[in-house]
């Protein structure tokens, strides 16, 4: 029986699949090209799958220890779970949004509001629309509703 060698491709595959998942919310979401569709992350998963495939083949080659087979199978299983999580976060859970049927439509009046700015000063939609920008009358406002960070 040959001396067991470290099956690096399995572990590289596992680490890479975890990176492929985490790099979407932490890194690739910063650029529209890699955010609107997670190309980069899918590419990383493909490379991870290749490494895992190579690793599994090596682990199940004749002469390998049973422990190597068990670990490589667990590693592959973990990677599949990570891929599942990624699909859930990037494609499925991200679409669970309320219907918003009463949201103002194009050519409808935008509902007014008065909210505090970062200095705690109340600001109304009317003021935002009327306040000049760099000395010139404003043509409009872009309201960006976002989920918030806290």
């Amino acid at each position: 029986m040959e001396k067991p060698k470290f099956n690096w491709s399995i572990w590289m595959g596992v680490v890479l699949s975890i990176f492929a998942f985490l790099s979407y919310p932490l890194l690739f979401v910063n650029w529209p090209v890699t955010r609107d569709f997670p190309w980069a992350n899918i590419a990383l998963f493909v490379v991870a799958a290749f490494l895992l495939f190579v690793g599994i083949r090596r682990a199940f080659a004749p002469g390998r220890r049973r422990l190597s087979k068990i670990f490589s199978a667990l590693g592959a299983l973990l990677s599949v779970l990570v891929l599942g999580m990624f699909i859930l976060v990037a494609f499925i859970g991200s679409r669970w949004l309320p219907a918003s049927t009463r949201a103002p439509q194009v050519s409808q009046k935008a509902p007014g509001f008065t909210l505090n700015d970062t200095n705690g000063k109340p600001v109304s939609l009317t003021e935002l629309v009327l306040q000049p920008i760099n000395g010139k009358p404003a043509k409009g406002v872009l309201l960006i509703f976002y989920r918030g960070y806290w």
Binding site: A103, A110, N116, F145, R147, Y149
Partner: protein, 108 residues
Amino acid sequence: MRSIQKNLDQFNAVGIRPVAISVDSPEESRELCQKAGYTFTFLSDPDLEAIGRYDLVHKGQGIKGHDISRPAEFLVDATGTVRWRMLTENIWVRARPEQILEVAKALQ
């Protein structure tokens, strides 16, 4: 948000004022603006005044299980009329600034 800041001069040049709205408190938004270098207006809507009127409430989705806003963008002209909107189907997908600038240029 980052892409809005990057294109802020262009938005100002076409007479459009970007305004970010969330349930975060003024202090939390101020901290975010300082950290990320955002210089446009951030409004705090913890009682869902505007978020409710625009029908954007996403129940129980905050970190503390509180109600938050779903992501959405509205371009409102000087008469207070909605001229363009984007209610994304996927929270990771947002309108691109070039897309909004294109519409903004068409405003009289």
